[in-house]
């Protein structure tokens, strides 16, 4: 790929070369001065090579933004309405693996009846159990073929994912179709499916996790619990209410509402268009019915419980490690709304500033890897902005929390430099699309225009500091922040008084 440069960049490059020559000459003079500072620098041998630290890094940076062009793919639709995207594998074509995803829109948390929370997870588990006598055979077949099949639901859909050898594509598609199109939904399997769907919430806090399980898993659950009942909750757990109201008929009703070929999309990587077409007609061609992606839950702002500014979850962690997750949740605009692109930009800007904190006062308090993360979790119904901290010194929580709050508050008023804005825009554009399949799925699932990504890029590019600060003032209401602290009871006891 040729590297294109503008005339300005070429001029700068020329200037840089001259500057480098000058820099080399200056270097000899500076050596004496450097020797004086040996008490501050290495006493060992010096490295040899170009003095690249003298190069202005801004001159090397390309002004071009990453492309968001849709990845190469073939698209078609089966006679029954099933949408198909066959991704071009490019240089990976010789790797004999196939990846298949079947997405059913609407069959997620938002599509559940109010009296059956977690029904989508129960249904996904039942589907994966398969035909009446096939559970053990299914398991053996997948093991024999070194293939994986998983069915899971999220906020607004259910996804079946398959990975296996390309030579197994046809049988794996047959298997996928048998699970999705002709499910047994065995009544006898229902109690087990409910147990599975409740498993996450039922593991007692005092129980040490099994070998190899990370504490972070349990901590994440506590974050999820803190926002349970809001539209940004993580995958909903089934509850006693579900157990009381669920029946095979209700599961079937849910299944019939969403699981239909005209409400599903298949993405395949690892097959040719011809192979995909033949195999899919054979396996999913007799799928009938009409589905609906209508959601049962209307988006409504959720006001925080006034007493819930700080939630402390005592958790028996392995060895009582000081471990804390602080999730500051602020309600943000939903995806595809007018403000969404600006929200992405704001999140990136905060991430940049918080990174700065990790190199300053918070540095010694955070683990070296992954100590602080920020995320803007969003979908078509709403969004939440989260900052998570993992601290290994529990006594640092108060300091860390105050530093984060201060930084967040300052964003609405403190100056934003041109460099910061440029960097945040790059990050926001990069975050618009997370994977090749995500692009096609998003356009299909939410009925977006084909140029959605291009328009979003333009929106981000044209956002100025004033617009960004106005956004911050509008959305980042400190009274809406929920902070969740997870740690051992002894460690977290003193933190309950932190206040909002």
């Amino acid at each position: 790929m040729p590297i294109e440069r503008t005339s300005e960049q070429r001029r700068r490059l020329g200037l840089r070369s001259r500057m480098t020559i000058l820099g080399v000459a200056m270097l000899a003079l500076l050596l004496g001065a450097m020797a004086i500072s040996t008490s501050l620098r290495a006493s060992g041998p010096q490295l040899v090579g170009n003095d690249v630290r003298r190069i202005d890094p801004a001159q090397v940076l390309s002004a071009r933004r990453p492309s968001l062009a849709l990845p190469l793919a073939k698209r078609f639709r089966l006679k029954n309405g099933l949408q198909v995207v066959v991704l071009d594998r490019g240089a990976l074509a010789t790797i004999p693996l196939v990846h298949i995803q079947v997405r059913v829109r609407g069959a997620g948390d938002y599509g559940e009846p109010p009296d059956l929370p977690g029904l989508s997870r129960v249904t996904a588990t039942l589907l994966q159990t398969g035909q009446s006598d096939a559970a053990s055979r299914l398991s053996k077949m997948l093991s024999d073929r070194a293939a994986r099949i998983a069915i899971g639901s999220d906020r607004d859909g259910t996804t079946l994912s398959v990975t296996g050898f390309r030579e197994d594509a046809r049988p794996l598609l047959q298997l996928s179709a048998s699970l999705l199109v002709r499910p047994a939904l065995q009544p006898t399997a229902l109690p087990g499916a409910i147990r599975t769907a409740r498993q996450m919430s039922e593991m007692p806090l005092g129980e040490p996790p099994p070998f190899g399980m990370q504490d972070v898993w349990l901590a994440t659950r506590e974050i999820a619990r803190a926002v349970q009942g809001t539209q940004w909750a993580l995958a909903k757990d089934a509850s006693a209410l579900t157990e009381a109201n669920v029946s095979r008929e209700r599961v079937l009703e849910f299944y019939r509402q969403y699981f239909a070929p005209d409400n599903a999309m298949v993405t395949i990587s690892g097959l040719s268009e011809g192979e995909a077409s033949v195999f899919l007609e054979e396996t999913f061609g007799d799928w009938e019915g009409h589905g609906s992606a209508e959601r049962g839950l209307a988006f409504a702002p959720v006001k925080r419980d006034p007493g819930a500014a700080i939630k402390v979850a005592p958790l028996k962690l392995q060895g009582g490690i000081a471990f804390t997750l602080v999730s500051c949740g602020i309600q943000m605009p939903k995806r595809f709304s007018e403000d969404h692109a600006v929200a992405l930009l704001a999140e990136k800007l905060v991430a940049l500033r918080l990174q700065q904190l990790t190199r300053g006062p918070l540095g010694p308090l955070l683990p070296t890897h992954g100590g602080m993360t920020t995320d803007y979790v969003y979908d078509a119904m709403g969004g939440i902005w989260i900052v998570s901290l993992r601290l290994w010194k529990q006594e640092s929580v108060k300091m860390a929390l105050n530093a984060v709050r201060k930084e967040m508050a300052a964003l609405g008023t403190s100056p934003i430099t041109k460099e910061e804005l440029f960097a945040a825009k790059s990050g926001a554009i990069g975050a618009l699309r997370r994977s090749p399949t995500d692009a096609y799925l998003a356009i299909w699932q939410y009925g977006l225009p084909q140029d959605y990504f291009d328009k979003s890029v333009a929106q981000i590019e044209t956002t100025n500091v004033a617009r960004l600060q106005a956004f911050v003032k509008r959305y980042w209401d400190a009274s809406q922040i929920v902070t969740v602290i997870v740690g051992s009871e002894v460690d977290t006891k003193a933190l309950k008084a932190l206040g909002g």
């Binding site: 501050l40 620098r41 006493s43 490295l47 170009n50 240089a91 010789t94 392995q318 990174q355 290994w392």
Partner: protein, 450 residues
């Protein structure tokens, strides 16, 4: 690949029965034909380039062929300290921070026992900037005291975190015990006292000794043209000057050195843990492929273990250029001594079965497929592939294995698996670590029993 082909037919029948339709006739591909090219820059730095235009990004994995095994006595953790110190002058500098974000560059660095890797991930239009950042790692201005102190603080923190987690501490002890007598017998995080004593002179000497073009390689994978990438590589990394030879420690694996066993108490544990591991040959050995298949089979045995007291069984292998090990880890559901003994016996029974029970054709083929699948998924990710290529280049200087790995796994026979099981899964080659909850010293009966 004949055996895999036979297996495909077997599977096809089973699926046809399941779904009542005809089976596929596609055959596994043993020759991947993954295209890449090898080059050498003017200063001797080895380069591997793989064009993959299916992604708009590029990964440049730069690796130094030295790690913790190359540390001298009393200098443990130095390779890791150097890695952090070199990264510190990029990561902690306001000069680069916003630009790195603007370029959407992902910076990484890892120190292992054999190599230190600096992978970088960036959009293809930022290749010059990305390689410029990598060249900063080798800038002539020596590490400053403040950079070293930042690095020291980070590595001590990382070390404390690792040892504060009983699971990780347990696995590290097992690793180190299994590789006793080699340069691999200590982990990259090092000893606290050694890290506190390390001077800037130590760091610079280590860099000078090991960060040399002929002890380094870079693999560039992604949306690049080979010609353009080579030009940028030469400009950015070709000027690092060659220096004196690196010193590598003796990395021969000691097998048959007698069983080693450690019983430890850990007050942080709620239940006991048992780890059993066996020294095994490196991935350059002809036995490696059979050992790899054996590791998959052991993992399945572990999962199928009928002992109700065992939970969370896991098995796998550690792969190094100069050493390897096969290991099984298990936590016991109860903390009492009787349960621990019972679980240990169950684990050893499974190992014994692996040594004595012939492997069935179907089990063998599915294990081979699982092993091949693991490798192929690795190759699908540009970052992992780049690391694999550069690691192999530094270790063996031979990349033909990239395209033959799956075929060699396919050629492993049941006899091969039995042979390596009998050769390596022997008590003289075994290390066992038992961790019990509590602070008291083990009782005599526990010592005897364990």
């Amino acid at each position: 690949m004949k055996s895999l082909t036979v297996f495909a037919s077997v599977c096809v029948v089973s699926v046809a029965v399941l779904n009542g339709s005809q089976a596929t006739d596609v055959r596994p591909n043993s020759d991947l034909q993954l295209a890449f090219s090898r080059h050498t820059l003017s200063n001797g730095l080895r380069v591997i380039i793989r064009e993959d235009h299916s992604t708009p990004r590029v990964v440049s994995a730069l690796s130094v062929g030295s790690g913790s095994r190359d540390e001298e006595p009393g200098k443990s953790g130095l390779a890791h300290l150097v890695e952090h110190a070199l990264a510190a002058h990029i990561m902690t500098s306001d000069r680069y921070r916003n630009l790195i974000a603007a370029a959407s560059v992902g910076l990484g660095a890892q120190t292992g026992k054999e190599q230190t890797n600096y992978p970088l991930d960036f959009p293809h239009e930022q290749i010059d900037f990305g390689l410029f950042l990598q060249s900063l790692l080798f800038a002539p201005v020596a590490i400053t005291v403040s950079e070293l102190e930042i690095a020291r603080r980070e590595v001590l923190s990382e070390r404390a975190q690792m040892w504060s987690h009983p699971n990780q501490a347990f696995v590290t002890r097992l690793d180190n015990l299994t590789l006793t007598g080699t340069g691999y017998a200590h982990d990259a995080l090092g000893e606290e006292e050694d890290l506190k004593r390390a001077t800037i002179g130590d760091a610079v000497r280590f860099i000078d000794q090991h960060y040399r073009p002929d002890n380094m390689a870079v693999a560039v994978v992604g949306d690049v043209s080979t010609t353009d990438a080579l030009a940028v590589l030469e400009r950015r990394l070709g000027s690092i000057k060659p220096r004196a030879s690196a010193r590598h420690v003796d990395d021969r694996v000691l097998v048959d050195r007698g069983e080693t066993r450690v019983v430890m108490r850990d007050k942080r544990l709620a239940s006991a843990m048992i780890g059993v591991a066996y020294s095994a040959p490196s991935y350059l050995s002809d036995d490696y492929y059979a050992v790899n298949v054996l590791a998959v089979l052991l993992g399945r045995r572990a999962r199928m273990s009928p002992n109700k007291l065992a939970r969370g069984l896991a098995a796998g292998d550690r792969r190094h250029c100069g050493a390897n090990m096969l290991g099984m880890g298990v936590s016991a559901a109860a903390a009492d001594n009787g349960s621990v003994l019972e679980v240990e016996k169950a684990v050893l029974d499974q190992v014994e079965l692996a040594r004595t029970e012939p492997v069935g054709a179907a089990d063998l083929e599915s294990a081979k497929r699982a092993s091949a699948m693991q490798q192929l998924e690795y190759f699908e990710t540009p970052g992992r592939l780049a690391t694999y290529l550069v690691t192999r280049e530094l270790c063996a200087g031979d990349l033909s294995v990239v395209n033959t790995h799956v075929g060699r796994i396919g050629a492993v026979s049941a006899e091969d698996v039995m042979r390596v099981a009998r050769r390596y899964l022997v008590p003289e080659n075994r290390s066992i670590v038992v961790a019990l909850p509590g602070t008291d010293a083990p009782t005599q009966s526990q010592k005897g029993g364990l």
